[in-house]
């Protein structure tokens, strides 16, 4: 589904990704771990198409297409979803109605019939249960006045509504207490399907106790330096990142 090859990306002239290789197949859950500043969020942003990054080398194929050539909205319509580390507050814009417009744009793109208000609202009811989010909350302005935990739950709620094929979750666990973490993890687990690929970007191993990944990667100084199964995450928790030396530049 996703094939990242020798990806180099810079922001404001500073190289952050220095040759990332990553292959994610449908049905798999990958965790990308690494210390602060290793390039985890940059990788998530580049996949979603956030402006401000310069791709200097390499390629990203998504379902065989050149992902980097697409606008963020095209990527979303093709089934890419990013759960933000810092979901943005947008006063004056309705969370559910903007989602309805987004979902119908995606459905139209897929050649599926658009949902009317009734069908959409019953979808909202159903998916709100998934992350135990109050229905009145999702009808408010986008993220405005939401607590940290509510924002993260809203991200997973949006993911459930938009039904992506590739979901990248950027530090969805950060700032959550254990109860909120369980709720979010349970929501994500219910969204694990054989058709969907999920990439979890995280700093801590804790999330991976609840969402067990198929493959764990360590990102260090802009490169994936080690990959393994879920036990690698435990090892990182116990030993830190220091034992994995950043490889010398080629």
């Amino acid at each position: 589904m996703l094939e990242v090859k020798n990806l180099h990306a810079s922001a404001s002239g500073r190289e952050i990704l220095k040759g990332v290789d990553l292959v994610v197949k449908a049905g798999e859950v990958h965790a990308i771990m690494g210390p602060n500043g290793s390039g985890k969020s940059t990788l998530a942003h580049v996949i979603a198409g956030r402006p401000g990054y310069e791709i200097t080398q390499g390629s990203v194929l998504y379902k065989g297409q050149d992902l980097l050539a697409m606008t963020p909205e095209q990527r979303a319509r093709e089934g890419v979803f990013l759960a933000f580390q810092y979901p943005v507050e947008i006063p004056g814009v309705s969370n559910v109605y903007f989602l309805k417009a987004a979902l119908n744009a995606i459905r139209k793109h897929r050649g599926e019939p658009e949902l009317d208000a009734m069908d959409f609202l019953s979808l909202v009811k159903e998916k709100a249960k998934l992350v135990d989010i109050d229905e009145s909350l999702v009808k408010r302005p986008v993220n405005e006045g939401f607590s940290g935990g509510e924002k993260k739950r809203n991200e997973i709620f949006q993911m459930a509504i938009l039904d992506p094929q590739l979901a990248v979750l950027d530090e969805t666990d950060s700032g959550l207490d254990i109860d909120a973490l369980r709720i979010v993890a349970s929501g994500v687990n219910q969204l694990r399907t054989p058709e969907r690929a999920i990439v979890l970007v995280t700093h801590y191993q804790r999330l991976l106790d609840y969402i067990v990944p198929d493959i764990v990667h360590v990102l260090l100084d802009g490169r994936i330096v080690k990959s393994g199964d879920k036990d690698l995450a435990r090892e990182l928790e116990a030993r830190g990142y220091e034992w994995l030396e950043a490889p010398a530049a080629p």
Binding site: A48, G49, R50, P51, G52, T71, P72, E73, R75, A76, R77, F81, L82, F84, Y86, P87, V88, I90, P91, G92, V93, S94, Y97, F98, L99, K100, A101, A102, L103, N104, A105, I106, H109, P141, V142, Q158, L162
Partner: protein
């Protein structure tokens, strides 16, 4: 100085002709007011950027244009069928002329009887000033020209010098007026010889304990060059409640100068909603004063300009008495090379304790070349008061833009959605559904990304 003298001399000469042509029935107090006003105008001249209150707005293009006063009688015969011929078709269509209540229409500053309907509720008096001046001037004498202060912009004195027509709304004490009263000021293309100058005056007297809603609309034919120099005087007697709306949609080639002067009695409540979209140069002054205790005043405003437009708002809220509350929120949206000015002054006079005043100005710049000057000013001369003011100017939040796009919303739609969301709290305060719908329609026209109905629905 010589140029200033020449410009005002022309108006002085025109004034002599105007005064000589006035009927003998004009009351002497009005004649005296006009004389004083032309003298004051001549002494002050057109404002220049050397004056503190005008340093951001250069009105030289207005000063050097030879405008023509439309001949009397021209407007009276205008009927609905004529509006297209006057180049007013679009302006007319976009305006919900009938908001359910009486509507008084002026063409080039004079009452257009054929377009108006003053079928009003019991006791409410609405109509053309010229009519009332000729039959019951004593009804106007206590208030007309007395709300505007000597320190008002010299444009207001120019308006006073040529005062002959406009609208009056007299709400008797205790009357609760249900339906909105619509005052419509249209400017025609004129005869092509010279751009038209119209100087309508509006007087609103909200009697003790009364309640009413008034809408002033200004519009002109697309591309028409003309100058509207309007003055509105509003008196709220004790306990009166008045909602005032102003919708300024002048043509993009027009000049618009307007003063809204408001005096509030004890425990009265005044709400103003000002929308300024049109004009090549537009200047909007609101000068309010609490003349007694316990009043409440709310000023809401939205200006949205693009291209080469220049729009300037100056407001004054004068807490001259204790226990009054004011809330002010003005927002600006500027695109192209447009320039905006917001200067909001709040004065808390000595002894005006327990004053509670908030003022906020927020501006959104949609292009690199757009510019706004924002100056909130607080002058506090009393103790035991609560005052707060703030001003922000910025561009569309790139993080919000990306957030919306990452969900599948196109860039154009996301931009329009964010602009519309920025304006939505001001538009949302409009309490007249037909007017709100017209404003939303106008914003949609300006924001192409909002054409999709589903995107429209996402605006709260």
């Amino acid at each position: 100085m010589t140029t200033v003298a020449t410009e005002t001399d022309l108006y002085r000469a025109d004034f002599e002709a105007f005064a000589a042509g006035r009927p003998a029935t004009d009351p002497s107090w009005l004649r005296r007011q006009r004389e004083e006003a032309i003298a004051r105008f001549q002494e002050r001249g057109f404002p220049t950027v050397a004056e503190e209150d005008w340093r951001f707005t250069n009105v030289a293009p207005i000063a050097r244009t030879a405008f023509r006063r439309p001949a009397p009688g021209q407007a009276a015969g205008v009927r609905t069928a004529d509006v297209t011929a006057l180049g007013l078709g679009d302006a007319f269509e976009d305006h919900p002329l009938v908001l359910g209540g009486p509507h008084i229409v002026f063409v080039d500053g004079r009452l257009a009887r054929g377009l108006s309907s003053n079928a009003a509720e019991d006791g409410l008096r609405v109509g053309g000033l010229a009519d009332l001046l000729s039959c019951e001037p004593e009804r106007l004498e206590p208030h007309l020209g007395r709300v505007v202060r000597a320190a008002a912009p010299s444009f207001a004195h120019l308006n006073a010098a040529f005062l002959e027509d406009g609208a009056y709304v007299i709400v008797p004490p205790g009357l609760l007026v249900d339906k909105p009263i619509h005052l419509v000021f249209l400017s025609s293309r004129g005869d092509g010889a010279a751009p038209t100058l119209s100087q309508p005056r509006t007087l609103v007297v909200a009697g003790r304990g009364s309640q009413a809603r008034i809408v002033e609309s200004y519009a002109g034919g697309p591309g028409a060059a003309y100058f509207t120099n309007a003055v509105t005087e509003i008196v709220l007697e004790d306990g009166a409640v008045l909602d005032h709306y102003k919708l300024q949609r002048e043509s993009a080639a027009a000049y618009h100068a307007a003063l809204t002067a408001v005096v509030q009695g004890r425990a009265s409540r005044f709400k103003s909603h000002s929308f300024a979209f049109g004009g090549r140069i537009a200047r909007n002054d609101v000068q309010q004063i609490f003349a007694a205790e316990g009043g409440e005043c709310e000023l809401n405003g939205l200006f949205a300009v693009a291209g080469e437009q220049h729009t300037d708002t100056h407001t004054v809220i004068d807490h001259a008495h204790p226990h009054c509350t004011s809330r002010e929120l003005y927002k600006g949206i500027l695109d192209g090379k447009a320039r905006g000015v917001f200067v909001g002054r709040i004065i808390v006079r000595e002894g005006a304790s327990k004053t509670d005043a908030h003022q906020t100005n927020k501006n959104l710049l949609l292009s690199r070349e757009a510019l706004v000057d924002s100056l909130p000013q607080l002058e506090i001369l009393a103790s035991d008061v609560k005052c707060k003011h703030g001003s922000t100017t910025g561009q569309l939040d790139p993080a919000a833009l990306f957030y919306l796009r990452s969900r599948g919303i196109t860039e154009a739609a996301a931009r329009s959605l964010l602009v519309s969301a920025f304006a939505s709290d001001i538009v949302g305060r409009v309490g007249i559904p037909a007017l709100r719908a017209a404003l939303e329609r106008h914003l949609r026209q300006r924001l192409p990304g909002l054409r999709d109905r589903e995107i429209q629905e996402a605006v709260l």
